[in-house]
Amino acid sequence: MRWLYLKNRLEELRKEKGLTQEELANELEVSRQTISSIENERYEPSITLAFKIAIFFKMKIEEIFIYEVQQNV
């Protein structure tokens, strides 16, 4: 099994709700730069923040954060 990387749908979900990065950051009590870095996949959130995001969007974590795995080649 080869572990690849974490992708996320945060930007897509945020825009669906009509929120700016700043507004989402205020709701989650993190900085706007953190939201931007997560959306650009430059930063992986902690499990606590991932849960906060999932609870905010009323979805499961794995529906927002997708860890790509390649099975044995």
């Binding site: 950051a25 900085s31 730069q33 953190t34």
Partner: protein, 138 residues
């Protein structure tokens, strides 16, 4: 207001006392001692005063206080601070090593070389200590 700011009041007061006492001792004590008293006293006084002003500002601007709290406790910012501190520690160790070599080459007193080596050794010991301590906690 005093309850919230008691540490800042104590810092500021201690700084002021040091500076005033430094002035008082100017003619009798060595210049190095009064210099240290002025330096540390002024730093403590300004730190205390800045803390008090910051608390008053935050009390009248809750939005700004909330934003500042978020920036300080933000997980990405914390991670960046830890990573930066770690990099600086690594660079400083090499700088201390280079400085120790320079003191040998230019034939400075041995105690200077040993002081620099000692600081490096203390850094390494503290690193091992904290690594083990945090390993047990996490």
């Amino acid at each position: 207001m005093f309850k919230k700011n008691w540490i800042n009041f104590i810092l500021g007061f201690a700084g002021l006392v040091l500076v005033i006492y430094g002035f008082y001792l100017t003619k009798t004590a060595p210049k190095e001692l009064t210099g240290i008293m002025f330096g540390i006293g002024s730093s403590l006084f300004v730190a205390g005063l800045a803390g008090i002003i910051a608390n008053i500002y935050n009390k009248h601007n809750p939005e700004a206080a909330k934003w500042k709290n978020i920036q300080v406790n933000d997980e990405r910012n914390k991670f960046l601070r830890y990573k930066s501190n770690s990099m600086v520690r690594n660079i400083n160790q090499w700088l201390l090593f280079a400085l120790a070599m320079i003191t040998i080459v230019v034939k400075l007193p041995l105690w200077m070389t040993l002081s620099l080596v000692g600081i490096n050794l203390i850094n390494s010991i503290l690193y091992v200590y904290f690594f083990n301590k945090f390993s047990k906690e996490m």
